[in-house]
């Protein structure tokens, strides 16, 4: 604090002399810390004892905070203490909220899982409704699907495939582990009996995904 030892005769003048610069630095520090707004040199001077030189104290204070978690910064013609910019991330607190996936998203995801690699047009054909950009984006953002190879057909549409993250989430070793339609039906997941005469068609469907998958998962 008191860097330079004060000569004895100055002691008596303490009442009138300005405090040592180290003390002034403490004062400026406290003022800047406690003020709700940046403080100008003039305001500091008004609040500090007579004869103080806040500008000089600031030079020292500023130096002291160099490289620290907070800095002394000039705001217009006033001064303030602010968080070091590289630590801004500490001023955030993350809260995690879990939500159920929408029906459109889970259906789209299921189709991609069973039919990968699959184009958007194919997804829409299977679902029978348009797939919104938002749904695809959401699944991409969640990193449950990613872009696959482009299909070698006119327009070279992109395809979608599921990711390792998807497999991890659903505890699957590979998308091939997903039960096929036959198994789903055997398991009672498909309630309805196929329409008379519709069975063959259904059978064909069951195989289709396998073709797609083998294409993808061939190692």
């Amino acid at each position: 604090m008191n860097d330079a030892p004060e000569p004895a005769e100055e002691k008596e003048e303490t009442l009138f002399a300005a405090p040592p610069i180290a003390e002034q630095e403490r004062m400026v520090e406290a003022i800047l810390f406690a003020s709700s707004e940046p403080v100008s040199l003039r305001e500091m001077e008004e609040r500090m004892p007579h004869g103080c030189d806040p500008a000089e104290a600031l030079v020292h204070l500023r130096k002291r905070y160099e490289g620290r978690g907070v800095r002394v910064v000039k705001v217009g013609d006033a001064w303030a203490i602010r968080t070091a910019p590289d630590l801004g991330f500490l001023m955030q607190k993350e809260t995690v909220e879990e939500r159920k996936l929408s029906r459109a998203a889970i259906e789209t995801l299921a189709i991609i899982a069973y039919h990968q690699p699959v184009t958007r047009a194919e997804i829409e054909e299977i679902r029978g409704v348009a797939v919104s950009r938002g749904t695809i984006d959401q699944l991409l953002e969640m990193e449950w699907i990613r872009f696959g190879r482009r299909r070698m057909t006119p327009g070279r549409p992109v395809t979608f495939v599921v990711t390792q993250g998807f497999l991890d989430h659903f505890s699957l070793e590979s998308a091939r582990d997903l039960p096929g339609l036959k198994e789903l039906r055997a398991a009672g997941l498909l309630d309805s009996r196929p329409l008379p005469g519709a069975s063959e068609e259904g059978d064909e469907d069951e195989d289709e995904p396998q073709v797609g998958q083998s294409e993808l998962f061939e190692d």
Partner: protein
């Protein structure tokens, strides 16, 4: 603290004057114990050496004087007066071996303790208020930076939901004509058949509601029937040691998983 006891700081003031100012200030007292504490100062001794008998007499004299001056005293003060009068008589009379309850000395000692404790709390309060106070001696940060709450949403879906979604799409066309042919009763046998098949795919805890058959969850009547049958089926399967059931609390969702 606004201190009526300041009246007694100047100990040279005549007792009579003191007593009168007490009466004038009676409303400034925080109850009989406070009054007793103030009166005790006139004894000019450590509270531990206080004469409770003398204090009781001072208090009773105070109450008498108040009566003469037709000052209404609150009931608390009168109750204390009655108690002190009783204590005084017990202290003056030779102890009665037949008497029940605490001895006069114990009662007196307790009163002294109460006074000492109140005095101690007052001093502690004064010391507390004299500490460095936030907003007076020390100051908090003037500009506080709000901590931004970053809300991160994660989505969840179970394998069961995924499979059901796929099955729903693939069977949509076949399914519709049949859904309405059914009666609104889902039998236990049907539920058991269904659950036995499904449980193989549901490795982890899955909510019971996810096992409801397709098309049985929107119509309340059908949902009730299916829920009841599925629940009964799950109990049956648990009994047979095929599955485990859990529920975190009353009315919370019921989950089941295959017993491994």
């Amino acid at each position: 603290m606004a201190e009526p006891e300041n009246l007694f700081e100047a100990q040279s003031v005549a007792d009579r004057l003191q007593a009168e100012s007490l009466i004038v200030d009676v409303e400034g007292f925080e109850g009989p114990l406070d009054l007793l504490l103030t009166l005790s100062r006139t004894q000019k001794v450590d509270l531990r050496k206080i004469s409770v008998l003398q204090l009781a007499e001072q208090y009773l004299a105070f109450v008498e004087r108040a009566k003469l001056l037709r000052i209404e005293l609150a009931a608390d003060y009168l109750v204390m007066a009655a108690w002190l009068a009783f204590l005084k008589s017990r202290l003056l009379l030779p102890p009665d071996p037949e008497a029940e309850g605490p001895s006069a000395e114990d009662m007196a000692a307790h009163l002294a303790f109460q006074l000492e404790r109140l005095q101690a709390m007052r001093e502690a309060a004064a010391q507390l208020m004299a500490r460095d106070r936030l907003g007076r001696d020390t100051f908090a940060r003037g500009i506080s930076e709000e901590v931004a709450r970053v809300r991160k949403v994660t989505y969840s879906a179970s394998l069961m939901e995924l499979m059901q979604a796929y099955a729903r799409i693939r069977t949509r066309d076949e399914f519709r004509p049949y859904a309405f042919d059914r009666t609104n009763v889902f039998t236990l046998e049907e539920a058991l058949d269904r659950m036995r098949g499904l449980i193989g795919f549901a490795g982890d805890w899955s909510e019971l509601t996810t096992f409801l058959p397709e098309g049985w969850s929107s119509d309340p009547k059908r949902r009730r029937s299916a829920t009841a049958a599925t629940f009964a089926a799950s109990l049956e399967m648990a009994k047979q040691g095929q599955i485990e059931i859990r529920q975190s609390d009353t009315f919370q969702p019921i989950s089941i998983r295959k017993k491994t």
